[in-house]
Symmetry: C2
DNA sequence: CACCCATAGCTAGGATTACTACCTATCCGC
DNA sequence: GCGGATAGGTAGTAATCCTAGCTATGGGTG
């Protein structure tokens, strides 16, 4: 398992939604967008991406449609209205979460001096 | 379950280590430090904190010792040398992770306006 | 033609981990 | 005596990411 395998937990959905915010994409393209957009850090296996997309679709946050390109079938997804709302909320949520963690990670105020 | 129940996954350990970096603490005090230091955001149940501390102790990152204060037994933990190293690595890891996520969450370069 | 790789999609099961719910015990205030 | 805060703990559940495997097409190579 990757070193930060658990690190993504709970944050993958917002990354997928954010990627789709740049326009409709199919799963494989989303996977590549995350890899390239993160400098290779989020090179997710398909077994992570596809189930997550299904989860988002079941939740009504994205909607998918089949098409065929070069003889290969594709499922393209786009954000629903609910997905847009969710993305906005999750973005704010991430900011707060990241701020809280970063603050706690700062070396504490040592009670030595003074 | 809390809204961001999964958000902490993989990040709790570094928070515990960082709290102990400010000096030895017992579990209950750590729990309060995280709550207060996060503006109430990380108000973790004891069923989250204690098992996590046991995990870190098993991993050799912290070491605990029993004491009795006011008739109540306490288990105080402090970072081991390995724990210090782990904390440094995890802090760097968090910075990279947070940067990657934040970058991906930034509104994409819209091809509309200029 | 046979074969492999990249593209594109999918699933079952395992592993990890935070949470819920519950328990024990002491001290203090009412 | 009783409840609440302090202090510690466990068992079992839920969520979700990963591993490993599968199907299928098109293009390139031997």
């Amino acid at each position: 398992m990757r070193a930060d395998a658990q690190a993504l937990k709970g944050h993958l959905d917002v990354l997928l939604l954010a990627t789709l915010n740049d326009g409709p994409q199919h799963g494989y393209a989303i996977k590549e967008a995350l890899r390239d957009g993160s400098g290779g850090r989020f090179d997710l296996p398909t077994g992570t991406v596809y189930p997550a997309l299904h989860r988002l679709e079941r939740a009504g946050l994205i909607s998918g449609s089949w098409s065929v390109v070069d003889g290969r079938r594709r499922r393209s997804y786009q954000l629903t209205a609910e997905g847009h709302k969710k993305l906005a909320g999750e973005r704010a949520n991430w900011r707060e979460f990241a701020t809280a963690v970063t603050t706690l990670l700062e070396p504490g105020p040592w009670p030595t001096a003074t």
